[in-house]
Symmetry: D2
Subunit: 473 residues, 4 copies
C-alpha cells in the first residue's frame, strides 16, 4: 500500500500518527499518509517565516518561472494525478481530469499575475498641505498564510490558496481535508522541484485540534478557509488580528424566464445539478421555472436526469458515483425523507444505494424543508414553478445564503433586474451558478462567505498597501 | 450695437477688421466683433508659450479653483448667456439654456479631472535586465493647443476644447465659428476673472486663411477640430508633426426592433431628429423600424412631428426655428427635392420658409440620395422599414460615417449583436444616437472622426506619457 | 446653557438621559446634549434600513448635490463650527479652523467620488468553458454601517465615516465621543437640510454599553472604528459576520538622515510633535537623528519647542493648550516620571499645569519605557541619536505599532530602503508622519489598524462586488 | 545558396524579382529571397481583410495558445535563428542571441496581454439626461495594419509590430528591411505552424516604391513605422485617414551627477555606447559628466573602450564588429572628420577599417557638429564635462530629439528634477538610455517619434474604443 509523506517546511516527512485514506467507492483503505502534530506545525511556521525573507528578494521572473513550471508539470501528469484524485474522493474520472486541468490553469494565471502586482499613483496637491508632494502606493506581501481546503475539489481549491500565495510572495501552510490529502501531496512533490525557498509551502494533514492553531496563532497574518458555513463563521471570531477570507457554501438557485432557451437551460442544469453528486459549493440546488415553460422543462429535465450513467468513478463513462462517505449519503437520505413526509414529491431518484445517492429531483417543497434551506451537498435538485420573473428572483433571495445564481433569459430588462436584485456574489446569465473559471472573482455574500478568491482577487487579499509620500524639495 | 472685443493672450482687443454678427431669425446684424490677423495670432502664440511654464507650476487645487469658478459663473449667468447664444445661432432658447448648463457641467467635470491626472506603476523585473528596477509613468502637458469649434454648439463644443486643455495644464488658442463668436467671447470674460496665467486661453475669430496657421504651425503640439469631414481630413494631412483630433459629422441611424418600447422610440426620435433643426453631429438622420412595428411607429412619429412648434427662437415655447443661414436652408431644399425626384416620398414637411425648413420625414429613399448618404445637417429624417434586426444593422453600417447609433430593443441577443457589429463610436441602447453627456467618450470611426473627446478622454489626448525607470541600487 | 438635540433617523430628539459637555480649558460644563438608549438606537437602525432602499434609487448627481452642499455649508460656517469644536475639545482655534476646512474638503472629495464608483470588465474566454462569455463587475452598497469616532478630531474623523458612507449609498449610525459630541451634531443640522432620505445618517452619543450593539448587531454590515488599539482589536472579535475597519493609534517615528534638510525637519517636527498637545494618532512621538546632525538638530528643535505659545485655545495666537481631561494629563505625567526614574533626561518641558502639559522633549530613553513603547497621546517627544540610517529604520520598526513614519533624506537609496523596510501604512519622505490629506489612503499595519480610510479607500471598503457573467448566445 | 520564400497571405512564395542578402562582415551574398510587387501586396491585403473576420471569432485562449507556441518555438531555435540574424546584420552573436530571447519574450507578453484586452465601466448619471443609464466601453481591433521594420533589430522590432497585432486581433503586413529580411522570414515559418488564419500575417520584402502603398492605401487602418526621422515624418503626411505610430531615432544623452556611482556609469555607458556598433535607436551618443567626476570617469571609460574586442560577429567573444554597410561606415567617418576639423578631440578610436568603425570617444565638441546634433547610428560617443546637474539637463535637452535619457545620481532632488525637465519619452535613473524591456512603454517625443510601442501600449494603439450606453428601462 502506497505511503505518502507530508511536506513540512521543504522536506518530506513521516510523523508518529498515521492517516489511512479510504476509496469511497470500494470502501477500503488504499493508501496512508500522516497527521502533523504541533511539532511539525511549529517547524512549518518557522520555515515559512524564514522563506518570507527569501521570497521578498525574488524578482517577478523567478516567481513566474516557478509557477509556470508547476502548471506545466500538472498538465504533463494529468492522468496519473486524476487517478489519485478519483481514488481518494470518488469523483468520476471525467471530472477529476477537468479538475487537474483547472489546477494547471490556476497556476498559469498565478504565474502571469505575479508579474502584475499593482501600484498606484496619487496626486496629493488637492489642497495647500499637499502642494509639492506626490504619492505612490505599492502592495507588499501580507505575511504567513494559513490555508484550509475541503474534500470536494481536493486539488484545485488547495491550489486557489497556494498559487496566489506564491504569486504574491507569501509563504503558506495548507491543511487539506483528511479524506483527500493525497493529490495535493503529489502537488507538493511538483512544487518541491521548482527551487522555491524551503518553507514557502507546507502541506499538513491535521486533525481539527491541531488545525485550530492555524486559526488562532497571530504569526499567521491571514486565514483562507474553504468549507462549511458554521465552521467558517466561528473561525472569524477566533482569528485574532489576522485577516480572514471565507469561502463557504450555499443553496444556489436557477431562474428560467419565459424568454429563455429552454434546451440550453435543461442541459446546463443537468451538469450543475449532478456533477460530483452535487458536492459542489455552487451546485444547482433550486430551479425556478416560469410557469409557461414549466411542463416542457420539467419533462425534458427528468428525462435527462434519468439517463445519467452511474458506476465506478474510474470508468471514464461514469457520470455520477458515490458520495464522499456513508455519513453524507445518509444525511441526504434523511433530508429527502423529511421533505417527502412534509408534502414534497420525488420526480425521479430519491434512493440511497450504499454510498451512492441516486440523482434526485423533488418538487412541491416548502422553504422550511432542509433540502431547500440548508446546503444539500448531494445529488438532489428542487424544481419549482414560478408565476413571474420577479417571483423567481424573490425565491432565490429567500435564503440565508448568497453565492451565485443562474438566470436563463433573453430580456435585457430581466438581466438588469436580476443583476440588481439578486443577493449573491455572482449572477450567471444563460448558464448555471455552477459556472466558474479560475481567474474570475469568486465568493459569496450573506452566510456564504467573506472576501473573494479567483487568482487576481486572492492575490489582492494577500497584499498590504503601503503609501509613499514624496515631498519634492 | 454691442461690440465684443476678442481675447488675445489675456487681454481684450480690437483689430483692424470688423466682423458683423447676424441674427439668423431676423436676418439683421445685431453685434460686431473683430477678426484676428497674423499679428494677433502671433501674440496669442507667444503668450500661450509663456503661460505654459506658469501653468506647469500650478498645483491641482488652483486649477480646480479656476475651473470650478468658471463653472459656477456660467451657471449664474445662464439666462443672459443663452440669450446671446440664441441671437447668434438661431437655436431655440430651451436648447440654448441646456447648452449653457452643459458647458457649466463640462467645466465642473474638468475641474474634478484636473485632480485625477493618471500615473502608472510598472513592474520591470519580468526578465533579468529588469531585475532591481521599477517603472513609473506620469503624464505631462503636451503643449500649445489649437482648437477650432463649429457654429452648432458655439459654447459647449468650444468648452470641450478649452476645459480639458486647462485641466491638463495646456494653453489653448480657440477659433470659434465666424457665425457664432459671441457667447464664447463672453466666456472669455469669465475665464479672465479667474487669475489663470495670461495667455492660457485666447479666443480668436479668424478667416480661413489666418486659421490655417493653427493647422500648420509646428509650435502647436495638437490640433483639436470639430467641423465638417472634408475640412477635417484635409487638416490631418497638413498638420505636420502635431497630434490631430477630429470630431466630424455623420448620418446617424436608429434601429427599432420588434422587442422595442415603441412609444419611447417615437418620443426620443422626435428630439433626436429635430432639436436645433437637425444641425447636430449626432442628429437622427435615418430611422429603421422592424416591419412588425412600422405602421404604428410611422403613424405616431408623423403625428408627433406635425405638432412641433416653430417660431422665434427667443420664445421659450419654440421647439424649432431657422437654420443657421440661407445657404444651408437652400442646400437642404435641394437635397430633399433630389430625393423626391428619384422616388422618395415626403411623409410630412418638406418646405423651406425663409431660413426655416419644416420638420420633414421622408421614406422610400435609396442609398445614393444625398439625404441618405451625406450629412444632412437639417431637420430631415429618413424613415424606412426593415425585415429583420440584422438588416437594420446592415443599413446603418452602409454609410461612410460612423459616429453613434441608437438601438431600441429589449433583447439581450440583439443588444450584443448591435454592439458587436455596428461600426460607430457609440451604440446607444434604448435611446437615440443624439445622446451625449459631457464626461463620456465621444467620437466617430470611419469618416466621422479621429480620436475621442469627452472631458477625461480629451485630457488624455492632451497629455504625453513619460516613463521613469528607477534602478534601485 | 445651550442644549443640543441628537439626530435619530432624520429627526432631532431629546432623550431621558442628559450628557453634560465640559470645556477642558475652563473645566466647566458649557452645553448639554443627550445619550441615546436602546430605543433610540433601534429607531435609528430601522430608519437606516429604510433609507437604504431609497438611497439605492438615487442617481449619482443627487448624491453629488447633497454632499457638495454639505461641503459648502461647512465652509460657510467655519468660524462658528470651529468655535464649538474648540470649546468641547480644548483644541487651539487655529487647528480647529483647519479641521473644519478639512471636513469640508472630505465632503467635497466624497461628492466627486460618488460619481466614480468603479466597475470592471473581465474577459472570460481564457479557457474553453469561458468561450462566448464575458464578465462585468459592479460594486453595490454593503448595507447599514456603524461608525465610532474619537474625541481628537471630533468633526473630521466622524466625517471620514459619514461622507464615504453617503457617497457609496450606505446609511450610517455614528457614535461620537461623549467628550466632544457637539460639532458633529451641528453637522447633523447641515446634513438634515440636504434632502437625503431620513435615516441615512443618525448621530447618537451613547455610553459604552449601548454602543456595544453597534459592534454586535448583525444588521450592521460594517463597523468602522477609530480609537484605541485595545478597544478596537476586541471589537474585531465581537463583530460577528460584519466587516471591520479599525483606525487605531501608534507611536510614530521620524528619521533624519545626514543628507536631510535639517531646518525643514526641525520645523515639521515641531508641528508634528505638538499640534493639539500630541493628541493625534500620527503624532511625532519618536525622533531619530543621524549622529552627524544630532547636536545641531537637537539645539534648534529645543529652541523651537521652548517658543511654543500656550494659553486659552480660543485665542488665535495659542499654539498649545490643555489636554482633553485631567486623567490624560495625569497619565502623561506618570509616564514621563517613569522614564526619568529609569534614566531618561528631560531636554525641555516635563511639567503638568492643571490640564495643560508642557511641550516636552526627552532623551536617553529605552524601549521598555511607556513614553517609547505605548502611544503617549500627549505633548511628549522622544529624541535620540542613531549611528546610521539603517539603525534608525530598525528603531522605528522596533514597535508593536505601524501607522506612518517620516523620513528626512535626499538620498534615493535611502528613500527606497525606507519604503521597502518600514513596517507602516505610510512612509512620508521629507515630512512628518503626521502628514495626512483627506483623499489619500490612510491606516496602519501591525497593532495600528485593519483596513484603510481616505475617501476613495473608505468607499471601496463600503462596497460589495458583484459579478455578472453574460453568456452571449 | 539558401533561398527564402516570402510569406504572402499564408503561403510561401517566390516572385519575379530576386533580392540578394549580403553578409556585412564578409561582404558576400550568402542567401537570396524575393521582393514583393503590387500583385503580392494586393493578395496579402485581401488575405488580411479576410483573416480579420476569422480573427474576430477567436477566443482569447486560442490567441494565447498561438502566441505562446511562437514564443516557445523561438526559444527552442534561438541558436539557429541568431546565426541567421548575425549573418544578415553583422550583429555580434552575443547580441543576436539576446535579440532572439527578447523576441521570444515579446511574444510571451503578447500572449498574456491577449487575455487582458481592457474594458471600462462608466457611470452616466452625473446629470439628469444620464439618469438610469450606464456605459460600458470595449476595445475592438482597428483593422489591417502595415508594419515597417528596420535593419538594426531585424527580429525583435518586427516582432514588436506582429505580436501586438495578433494579440489585439488585427492582421498585419510587415515589410522588413531589404538588408535583413531572413530572420523574420524564419519567424514566418514558425507563425505558419500555429493555425492562425491565413493572411493574419504576411512578410513582404519590398522596394520603397511598392512599400509606399503601405503608407497611402486607406484599407490599412494603421501604419506602424520604425526607422529614420525624415522618412517617418513624411509618412505621417501621406498616411491619409489611417493612424500612424512612428518610432524614430535620436541622439540620446547620459548625465553623470557628482552623487553617482561612477563605476556603474562607466560599465553601463560602455554597453550603451557600443553594442551593435551604436546602430541602436537609444544608443548612448552623448555623455555629460559632472566636473568633479570628469577626470576619473573619462580615464576609466577610455580604458574600458580600448578593451572592446572586435572581430568576426559569429565569434562568441566578439563585442563589436562591422557596420551594416560601407555607406554607413563612410558616413560616420565623414562626421568624425568634420568634428575634428572644427576643434573636437578624439580620445580613442576614430578610424574606419573596411566596414568596421573603431569604438570612438570624442570631446570638445560643439552643438552644431553632426556627431552631436544628428543621430550618429555608429560606434561614436561624445563625452563632455558639465559644471552642474542643471547644465547637464540643459545639454541633453538641447536637441531636436527626445527618445530616452540616462541619469546616474543618488539624489532624490536630482531624480525629480531630471524626470520633470528632460524632454524625452523615458528617463532611466542609474542606467543608460539604451535600457529597454519589451513590456515597457517605449517611444520618443520631439522629432523622435509619435505614439508608443511596448506590447501592452502597442496593443492599445491597435484598438478602437466603442461605447455602449445602456438605458435601463
Amino acid at each position: 500500500m502506497k505511503k505518502y509523506d507530508i511536506y513540512v517546511g521543504g522536506s518530506f516527512r513521516k510523523t508518529s500518527k498515521a492517516l489511512e485514506v479510504v476509496n469511497p467507492y470500494t470502501g477500503t483503505v488504499f493508501a496512508t499518509t500522516w497527521l502533523a502534530g504541533a511539532g511539525e506545525l511549529e517547524e512549518a511556521i518557522q520555515a515559512g517565516l524564514n522563506a518570507q525573507k527569501a521570497m521578498k528578494e525574488w524578482p517577478a521572473f523567478r516567481k513566474f518561472q516557478a509557477l509556470s513550471a508547476i502548471s506545466d508539470d500538472l498538465a504533463a501528469n494529468r492522468k496519473e494525478l486524476a487517478g489519485i484524485l478519483t481514488m481518494e474522493s470518488g469523483k468520476p474520472m471525467r471530472y477529476a481530469l477537468g479538475e487537474i486541468d483547472r489546477a494547471s490553469q490556476t497556476f498559469l494565471v498565478a504565474a502571469e499575475e505575479s508579474k502584475r502586482i499593482p501600484g498606484e499613483y496619487l496626486q496629493l496637491d488637492w489642497t495647500t498641505p499637499g502642494s509639492g508632494k506626490e504619492g505612490w502606493i505599492k502592495y507588499f506581501p501580507i505575511g504567513l498564510i494559513a490555508g484550509i481546503a475541503p474534500f470536494n475539489f481536493p486539488m484545485n481549491l488547495a491550489v486557489h490558496k497556494i498559487a496566489p500565495a506564491l504569486a504574491s510572495g507569501n509563504p503558506i501552510i495548507l491543511k487539506p481535508s483528511r479524506s483527500t490529502p493525497l493529490s495535493v501531496l503529489e502537488l507538493a512533490r511538483i512544487i518541491d522541484k521548482t527551487g522555491l525557498p524551503k518553507g514557502a509551502v507546507s502541506i499538513l494533514p491535521m486533525n481539527r485540534k491541531a488545525g485550530n492553531q492555524l486559526v488562532e496563532d497571530d504569526r499567521f497574518r491571514m486565514l483562507s478557509f474553504t468549507g462549511s458555513p458554521e465552521v467558517g463563521w466561528n473561525m472569524k471570531k477566533e482569528a485574532g488580528k489576522k485577516k480572514v477570507v471565507l469561502e463557504l457554501g450555499g443553496n444556489a438557485g436557477v431562474l428560467v424566464s419565459d424568454s429563455a432557451n429552454s434546451n440550453l437551460a435543461v442541459q446546463r442544469c443537468l451538469i450543475g445539478g449532478f456533477a460530483y453528486s452535487g458536492q459542489v459549493c455552487i451546485h444547482v440546488q433550486r430551479i425556478y421555472v416560469h410557469e409557461s415553460l414549466f411542463e416542457s422543462f420539467s419533462r425534458e429535465f427528468i428525462k435527462a436526469v434519468k439517463s445519467i450513467r452511474t458506476g465506478n468513478p474510474l470508468d471514464p463513462s461514469t457520470e455520477l458515483s458515490v458520495m464522499i462517505d456513508r455519513e453524507n449519503a445518509e444525511r441526504v437520505e434523511v433530508w429527502v425523507r423529511e421533505a417527502v413526509e412534509n408534502g414534497a414529491k420525488i420526480l425521479t431518484g430519491g434512493k440511497k444505494k450504499g454510498c451512492l445517492f441516486e440523482p434526485t429531483v423533488i418538487t412541491n417543497t416548502t422553504k422550511t424543508m432542509q433540502v431547500c434551506k440548508q446546503e444539500v451537498f448531494g445529488p438532489v435538485v428542487v424544481l419549482e414553478k414560478v408565476a413571474s420573473f420577479q417571483k423567481g428572483l424573490d425565491e432565490i433571495n429567500d435564503s440565508a445564503y448568497g453565492l451565485q445564481a443562474g438566470v436563463f433569459t433573453d430580456s435585457l430588462t430581466e438581466m438588469n433586474l436580476a443583476f440588481d436584485c439578486l443577493e449573491v456574489g455572482g449572477v450567471i446569465i444563460n448558464d448555471v451558478p455552477t459556472f466558474r473559471v479560475d481567474h474570475m472573482p469568486y465568493g459569496g455574500v450573506k452566510d456564504s462567505g467573506f472576501g473573494r478568491e479567483g487568482v487576481k482577487y486572492a492575490i489582492h487579499e494577500m497584499l498590504e498597501p503601503k503609501l509613499l509620500v514624496k515631498n519634492v524639495l
